[in-house]
């Protein structure tokens, strides 16, 4: 990193909200439908197709999505913003073929949230990025370009978006990526967006400028658009930073412009500067009524916020003494983190104590077994038949030596697909660990008789022979023998 120059990065994130219907009409927001099939006069922008008359009863196609507003307030609350008490929309006017009304309905004068912040871990420290504002708006359609013509698909037009605008206090490409991951985690945790970048559900525009370390004033910025992955964002920032430094070093001035990232050439390229100082002629949207939010409703939404991931990670490491790496794995999915804590509660009901070792085992069960098995089946914990109660019973049985870990994992697999009481299951399938000493001694004597060489080897000090005899015994017992006991009895028998 060039010490002489400091970087200022501001990021504008657009995320599609996972409402079932569009912002201003009841068309579906589902991705992947046939072009122009999730459309109606309102989102096609046909003349006269306004969103809706607040006084008319029984109008089914129109109206402002309540869910979108709720999500907007939720996001504002989670990002520690000042929340607007009145939801107002405005028109942003410009011409483009994917914008059916020639204006976008957005919030310019009164965004739903202002002056917030988000904290996240970065480079082993806590980083904090200020949020300038967040607002609701509708998405535009999609253009597909061919050599001689372009096609327009209006399915996406009208889908509700949240736009999150940060202050330009992000200082590096690494921090930018950490910020984007934090925002994405946050939105997924809140269950307000799926943030699927590959489906256009999560987009980021980067504003970047550089300044000399001695200067307080921000340099001229360029805007980087159309970057389709976090990795490419990192590369684009680095590339643009170098480009700007080169310009300044050669005595030139950075032009304020919009640039796009060219994946193939791995560099930023200037877009047409024709509409650079665009005047969007904003005016208040007259067709959407102003919604007044009640304090009690805002409180309700605030109280319904889940514990956010970075707080959960902190709490897991503090409260349960687990490692940061494990905390991250347990919280990668909100439902898994919740499952873990439920399992702890259930476990404490069965066993009086829960020491660190057992806790670690439970964590490992989840991370190494449960998550892996769910992944194999392409399932989410929410749709699994497994309960926290059943899970903790199973783990307890393994801890106590009632069953083998290998058998335990098999049973866990079955419990994901079907609702099974593990204790019943073990009883009926006779999977319990066998610790009947006389039965074991019988078997072991057979095995010893059948493996005279091994006995010889053991007697001459080769401990590997013991392992071999144990293995043979376990095989004969179909893996259900208590391994410790088997070892004890073999040693005892051999000594005799």
């Amino acid at each position: 990193m060039d010490k002489k120059y400091l970087t200022n990065i501001g990021i504008e994130v657009h995320a599609e909200l996972k409402t079932k219907t569009k912002l201003l009409c009841s068309c579906s927001t589902e991705f992947g439908a046939n072009p122009n099939s999730n459309c109606c006069p309102i989102c096609w922008g046909l003349p006269g197709a306004t969103s809706g008359n607040p006084w008319a009863k029984g109008s089914t196609r129109s109206g402002l999505s309540k869910t979108a507003i709720k999500y907007g307030v939720k996001i504002a609350a989670g990002l520690n913003c000042d929340i607007a008490r009145e939801v107002q929309f405005d028109r942003k006017n410009y011409f483009y073929p994917d914008l059916p009304k020639a204006f976008q309905i957005t919030q310019f004068f009164h965004p739903i949230g202002r002056s917030g912040h988000i904290c996240f871990a970065f480079n082993g420290k806590n980083s904090r990025v200020q949020i300038n504002e967040i607002h609701l708006e509708e998405d535009a359609g999609k253009l597909i370009h061919d050599a001689n013509y372009s096609l327009v698909d209006y399915n996406r037009a009208g889908v509700p978006l949240i736009e999150i605008v940060s202050e330009p206090n992000i200082e590096s490409s690494e921090e930018a990526i950490a910020y984007l991951e934090a925002i994405r985690d946050f939105l997924i945790y809140l269950d307000v967006s799926e943030c699927k970048m590959e489906e256009g559900g999560f987009r980021a525009d980067i504003n970047i400028s550089i300044r000399e370390a001695s200067s307080d004033q921000l340099g001229r910025r360029t805007e980087l658009k159309n970057i389709n992955s976090f990795r490419s964002i990192g590369l684009a920032i680095e590339n643009e930073r170098s480009r700007q430094i080169k310009i300044l070093e050669s005595g030139g001035e950075v032009a304020e412009e919009t640039r796009r990232w060219d994946e193939a050439r791995q560099e930023t390229i200037s877009m047409r500067t024709k509409d650079e100082s665009k005047d969007y002629m904003y005016l208040p949207e007259p067709d959407v009524p102003i919604i007044i939010l009640e304090e009690s409703w805002i409180e309700e939404v605030r109280n319904s916020l889940p514990e956010l991931r970075h707080k959960k990670i902190q709490r897991f490491t503090d409260e349960y003494g687990i490692t940061l790496k494990d905390s991250k794995a347990l919280t990668s999915n909100k439902a898994i983190g919740e499952f873990y804590e439920e399992a702890l509660i259930e476990y404490k009901k069965i066993s009086r104590g829960l020491d660190l070792a057992t806790n670690t085992n439970i964590v490992n069960w989840i991370i190494m077994d449960l998550l892996a098995l769910l992944n194999e089946k392409s399932m989410q914990i929410e749709n699994a038949a497994l309960t926290a109660q059943g899970f903790s019973q199973l783990v307890h049985m393994v801890e106590n030596g009632a069953i083998n870990r290998g058998i335990g994992r098999e049973i866990l697999n079955k419990m994901i697909a079907k609702e099974i009481d593990p204790r019943e299951y073990i009883k009926t399938k006779n999977l319990g660990l066998i610790d009947d000493k006389s039965l074991l001694r019988e078997r072991i004597i057979e095995i010893i008789k059948a493996n005279p060489q091994a006995v010889e080897d053991y007697k001459s000090g080769k401990t590997k022979a013991l392992t071999y005899l144990m293995g043979q015994t376990m095989k004969a017992m179909k893996g259900q023998a208590n391994a410790k006991l088997v070892e004890e009895i073999i040693v005892q028998t051999l000594e005799d």
């Binding site: 003349p47 006269g48 197709a49 306004t50 008359n53 006084w55 011409f95 007259p286």
Partner: protein, 488 residues
């Protein structure tokens, strides 16, 4: 048989229900009359001959089965202003850019009229995209005032007013952004109602200025307007019954306010208009109303604020005509498509408003012009609110001047915007207002009286209008006479 076309819709409705006249017969007679008079008036852009006959047959057989018992509009020929969307029917807004546009959906009000059994007989002429007050900017030629075709019918609902005044429809639907129902109603000698903002759904109305536009009925008498409003607000939550049930018998206890600047001595009113106005005041007082003059501080800002807001909203509403999904287009590059649809497709009247509106929305002008207009609008609304704590009705002549001839409006020194001063307030404040014929001037041309009420007071407003109508000796059922009155 032509006399039947001059009767009120509510009387015809009774004849239809009793079987004295068949719907098909009535529609045929109406269509024949239109054929004859259209050459003179040019009220219609599209006449829906086949559709109307088919619908007439349908409605007739449904009536025979006992349907439409509660509908006062079943079988009644009505006309629709051409900025109101009808599925698969050309809806042109009198513009070149939409001359072949057929919407794929019906406006909400159209669905309500169709459910009532009304027969939509045609789409009427207007100022292009409702921007104007004379009907001269239409791509389809000018409409003439049926009372005397030298004169303008007014606008922008000129075709709707002329159709009703010329007995080419019983009731018509118009739109009012700054006076566009009431002014042509006044000029043509008929009744025109602008309801409270958004009382009637705007879904399907191709907008001019979205915060000002309202759909409303025009008819030859108040009761027909009320019946139309009942249909247009079907399904609204109404605890007070129908608008067409008039329960008030006189105006005792009704307080009416009149702007104190409404005199010809201050140059605000034509002297004939003033004389007619004072006469109307006397009639209302005889019915028991108490009439008082009061000052309205914000009156001088009305036309400028109306112009600023309407042009700004229009500039935004007009952006979507790009020739991609609908409208005038040719197979060329996208940038040029906007040019064709807009530069070629719009008249100068429309372009002027778009340019002005866009200009005042620009960053450097926004807070000084548009924002100021919005703030002034709030002050205007508040002043009306205050006035309505003292008065039940605010009264004025619908238009300050006499209806001009086409020759006059094309002359150099014609001040086109005088006509919105006393009508635009209702749009700026979202209030209901009705224009009722009040008399005839020395040239034999009609004048109108405007009653404005509190928000959602249409029931009272229509009833008061009805009482005035009955007690004004100048009002006649048939206004197409060449009789001139000599005011003595």
């Amino acid at each position: 048989m032509d006399d039947i076309l001059k009767k009120p819709a509510y009387k015809i409705s009774e004849l239809i229900k009793s079987g004295e006249i068949s719907v098909v017969e009535l529609v045929e007679i109406q269509l024949k009359a239109i054929e004859i008079s259209e050459g003179k008036y040019n009220s219609y852009i599209t006449i829906l001959r086949d559709e109307a006959i088919n619908k007439a047959k349908e409605v007739q057989s449904m009536l025979a089965k006992g349907e439409f018992k509660d509908s006062s509009l079943a079988g009644i020929p009505i006309a629709i202003k051409d900025n109101i969307s009808m599925r698969n029917i050309k809806t042109t807004c009198a513009s070149k850019t939409l001359k072949d546009y057929k919407p794929i959906f019906n406006a909400r009000v159209i669905e309500k009229f169709e459910s009532s059994g009304a027969i939509i007989i045609g789409k009427t002429n207007m100022d292009e995209f409702a921007m104007g007050s004379s009907s001269k900017s239409s791509y389809f030629g000018m409409t003439k005032n049926p009372r005397n075709t030298d004169y303008i019918p007014g606008g922008s609902s000129g075709g709707s007013a002329a159709a009703v005044a010329g007995n080419e429809a019983f009731i018509s639907l118009g739109t009012d952004t700054g006076g566009s129902i009431r002014q042509p109603a006044s000029y043509c000698g008929i009744v025109g109602l602008k309801p409270t903002y958004d009382l009637v759904s705007r879904y399907g109305l191709i907008p001019f200025a979205s915060s000002l536009d309202a759909l409303g009925p025009l008819a030859r008498n108040v009761k027909d307007c009320a019946i139309a409003l009942d249909v247009m607000t079907e399904n609204n939550n109404k605890s007070y019954g129908k608008y067409s049930d008039f329960s008030m018998e006189d105006l005792k206890g009704i307080k009416i306010g009149v702007l104190d600047e409404l005199t010809s001595s201050k140059g605000n009113l034509n002297p004939e208009v003033e004389e007619n106005f004072l006469n109307s005041i006397k009639i209302l007082e005889e019915q028991g109303a108490i009439i008082e003059r009061f000052p309205f501080e914000m009156i001088s800002y009305m036309t400028q604020v109306y112009f600023d807001i309407s042009c700004a909203e229009a500039s935004s509403n007009m952006g979507r005509y790009d020739g991609i999904r609908y409208g005038l287009s040719r197979d060329i590059e996208i940038d040029s498509m906007f040019d064709i649809a807009q530069y070629d497709g719009f008249s100068d009247d429309v372009k002027e408003r778009i340019l002005y509106g866009a200009d005042i929305l620009r960053k450097e002008n926004y807070s000084e012009v548009f924002e100021q207009a919005m703030k002034t609008r709030t002050l205007i609304s508040k002043e009306f609110e205050k006035a309505f704590t003292k008065y039940d009705i605010i009264l004025n002549p619908t238009v300050q001047n006499l209806v001009p001839t086409y020759e006059e409006i094309f002359s150099k020194d014609f001040a086109g915007f005088l006509s919105t001063k006393y009508t635009a307030g209702a749009n700026l404040a979202g209030l209901p207002a009705i224009s009722i014929p009040s008399g005839i001037d020395s040239r034999g041309m009609p004048m109108g009286l405007q009653f404005m009420g509190r928000p959602f007071s249409e029931k009272e407003l229509l009833n008061i209008g009805y009482i005035y109508e009955k007690s004004n000796p100048f009002w006649q059922e048939n206004i197409i006479t060449k009789k001139r009155y000599n005011h003595g």
